[in-house]
């Protein structure tokens, strides 16, 4: 980064105050809204529900207690949080692999058709709408009519093959998959766009040479394209992991975290704003950031490497 420093022309020197006039407004807002709350969140996570006493005050004699880390005991070992961890893991496994694989498939294939732009725009479209809107769209797809009439498309299809209707959003096991499908529908376009940009960067000479030598498209993909775009795939995967860890809106709108679909971010919201357990809520927030930080650091490093290469 020091290289940028040298780029500033020497004649553009200015007084000591001027730069701070430019920087201070942003600094103040950021300190107030990010730095201060971060510290405060850490402190609150060691206090009780309304932050009046240390967290250990919530301990009940004869039951397991982690003293000042009592909120963390809840955040790490309570059954609802274990469900949330399990679900977030499932989300990561399925949604990340789903969006990356689909995004890659479409990016590679759309490259070969003339309506590439239209196809990509269609896949990308869900990125423009809110999770809430997507939640409504899919809730309608999953609609479960208890009577004879099925107005949800999926159950109507099941009806035509005379299979029993499924309550997609309340049946444990199925409902998480149903939510993840919504996530894949929304985020595939994002993965596709980044991967497509990387694909355009694969040197055409190498591709041509391989094809002239008689390599099949399949081999070209696995032996040339994939290794070249691997760094980008890695960034996409970590970015998606971060996004999935913070997933909130879809779950909040579609199931409210009920029927075994709880996730970390939704739990944090509920602890704070419906159980009024600020100690627990902040502890969960800390757990969340601790899980996210490695992925973030990896991502920022990768971005800087790419910038440096340019």
């Amino acid at each position: 980064m020091s290289s940028v420093d040298d780029r500033v022309p020497k004649i553009m020197k200015q007084g000591r105050v001027a730069p701070w006039l430019y920087v201070t407004p942003a600094l103040i807002v950021m300190s107030f809204f990010i730095v201060y709350p971060m510290i405060s969140t850490v402190l609150l996570s060691f206090r009780n529900a309304d932050s009046t006493l240390p967290a250990s005050a919530a301990c009940v004699a004869g039951q397991p207690c982690w003293g000042i880390f009592e909120n963390y005991r809840y955040a790490l070992t309570s059954s609802i949080m274990l469900t949330a961890f399990r679900n977030n893991l499932l989300w990561i496994l399925l949604m990340v692999s789903g969006t990356v694989a689909m995004g890659l498939l479409i990016a590679v294939l759309a490259d070969r058709v003339r309506y590439e732009k239209t196809a990509k725009a269609i896949i990308f479209l869900p990125m423009a709408i809110s999770f809430v809107g997507a939640g409504v769209i899919w809730k309608f797809m999953y609609d479960y009519g208890s009577g004879k009439i099925q107005i949800g498309l999926l159950n109507a299809i099941l009806k035509t093959v005379e299979a029993p209707a499924v309550s997609w959003l309340t049946q444990p096991g199925i409902n998480i998959l149903a939510l993840i499908v919504v996530g894949i529908w929304m985020w595939t376009g994002f993965c596709m766009t980044i991967l497509a940009a990387a694909l355009k960067g694969v040197p055409t000479e190498i591709l041509e040479a391989a094809r002239v030598d008689g390599a099949t498209e399949w081999r070209v993909f696995w032996r040339i394209i994939l290794p070249v775009i691997m760094p980008t795939i890695a960034v996409v995967i970590t970015t998606m992991i971060i996004n999935v860890l913070k997933i909130f809106d879809i779950v909040y709108v579609m199931t409210g975290g009920n029927y075994g679909t709880e996730v970390i971010a939704n739990r944090m919201y509920l602890e704070m704003y419906s159980s009024f357990q600020s100690g627990r809520a902040t502890a969960i927030a800390i757990v969340l950031i601790v899980v996210i930080i490695p992925a973030m650091i990896y991502n920022i490093r990768r971005f800087q490497e790419q910038e440096a290469m340019r």
């Binding site: 809204f33 294939l109 409504v136």
Partner: protein, 394 residues
């Protein structure tokens, strides 16, 4: 040449099939919602949206049981004209209709040797008769869902009908002022706009100043400070909600637009500064040198040179931030809640409170998607660019 072309097309056929299938799959859910939002509410709960173009309910049963004697249009027997509302009005339910069908007319069974329809079929026939006799003939498509959603109508018919009958609920006045009804989507739309515009402009403004200083000014600790600011991108939103909502409670900022603007500004800044500095820092050095030699101050260089040149970056940033705020639920939920409900808040509320109100929900969802769609199709290039650069945002 032609066979060559055909061969190539056939070779590509699997690719076309996969791409087109995926595109259709992607569009299908949204398309179903769009169609539904234009159907009369009586139809939505009765039949799936994919039946919208098929014959109305009961057509097949009418053809099987009645058409032979009454004719396809129901007018064949003049003494029993099925398009006569007065006659059909006597049989509002399947029960009365079935009783009539079992009776004898002029000493012969009404249905002759045809089997009498079952209860469900009779009900469908009854609704078909109400349709052809114009007692109840809702159009296939209607915009009333949108009207109802916009004004926040929650009754059992439609806003227009209730208003015509003077039976509207107390919070509706049946004039233009209903568009400001706190329960309505049009009010929510305005609220969302009132949140999004300043929450987009403020961070860009602050970020432009800071990014200029980080790019073209000398000061102590410049790079270290910049690194810290960029690092703040990793802080997830959830980390900051609790302390901020406590401070807001003390300052009386909960439920105010100002509170949300400031929060989005604070949270949008790290990424905005990062993006703007990357862009401003990459501008040619000579440019700044020459304007400075011409006697321009930093302020002029910033205002006259850097800002205009940074417009592409600002556009990407603005679109990204605007859609981010527009589509946000969490911040709106925490800091605005029901006091100044925005679109996402209003819809998520409707989802949980309106069990079967699909006609309102579908329309409301599309109202909320309208602006993002326009932005998306109109400014796709900037949107994609801003989103790519913003993929590390916390």
């Amino acid at each position: 040449m032609n066979t060559n072309k055909a061969n190539r097309f056939l070779g590509h056929l699997p690719v076309h099939v996969i791409i087109v299938t995926l595109c259709l799959l992607w569009l299908l859910p949204a398309f179903g919602l769009l169609v539904t939002s234009f159907r009369p509410f009586q139809d939505i709960s009765d039949t799936g949206w994919w039946t919208v173009l098929s014959a109305p309910k009961g057509t097949a049963d009418y053809d099987a049981s009645c058409a032979a004697c009454h004719g396809n249009d129901g007018k064949l027997i003049t003494a029993a004209d099925l398009t006569d509302p007065e006659l059909v009005g006597r049989y509002p339910r399947s029960l009365q209709l079935m009783a009539m069908l079992r009776k004898e007319i002029d000493g012969k069974p009404h249905m002759a040797d045809l089997p009498a329809p079952e209860a469900q079929q009779a009900a469908d026939i009854a609704s078909y008769l109400r349709r052809i006799s114009n007692i109840e003939n809702p159009p296939r498509f209607t915009t009333s869902n949108y009207v109802d959603a916009l004004v926040g109508y929650r009754g059992t018919t439609t806003y227009a009908k209730d208003c015509a009958a003077g039976a509207q609920s107390l919070d509706l006045k049946c004039n233009a002022s209903d568009l400001l009804n706190p329960r309505g989507m049009s009010r929510a739309f305005l609220n969302t706009l009132a949140v999004s515009l300043p929450a987009t402009l403020l961070p860009i403004l602050f970020a432009a100043f800071a990014a200029y200083a980080f790019s073209w000014m000398h000061f102590r600790g410049r790079m270290a400070l910049f690194a810290v600011l960029v690092g703040l991108q990793i802080v997830p939103l959830q980390m900051t909600l609790v302390p901020i909502s406590r401070i807001y409670a003390q300052l009386g900022l909960n439920g105010t637009f100002l509170g949300v603007w400031l929060f989005h500004t604070g949270f949008g800044l790290p990424y905005a500064i990062y993006l703007m500095r990357n862009f401003l820092g990459a501008l040619p050095q000579d440019l700044f040198e020459s304007v400075y030699l011409d006697g321009a101050s930093h302020w002029t260089a910033f205002y006259r040179l850097a800002l205009p040149l940074a417009m592409p970056a600002i556009a990407s940033l603005a679109i990204f931030q605007f859609l981010w705020v527009w589509n946000d639920l969490l911040v709106a939920l925490v800091f605005l809640g029901g006091k100044n409900p925005v679109l996402t808040y209003q819809i998520s509320n409707m989802v949980t409170s309106l069990g079967g109100g699909w006609h309102l929900l579908t329309a409301a969802a599309f109202i909320s998607m309208l602006l993002p769609m326009i932005v998306f199709f109109g400014l796709q290039r900037f949107f994609v660019r801003g989103l790519l650069a913003g993929s590390v945002k916390g």
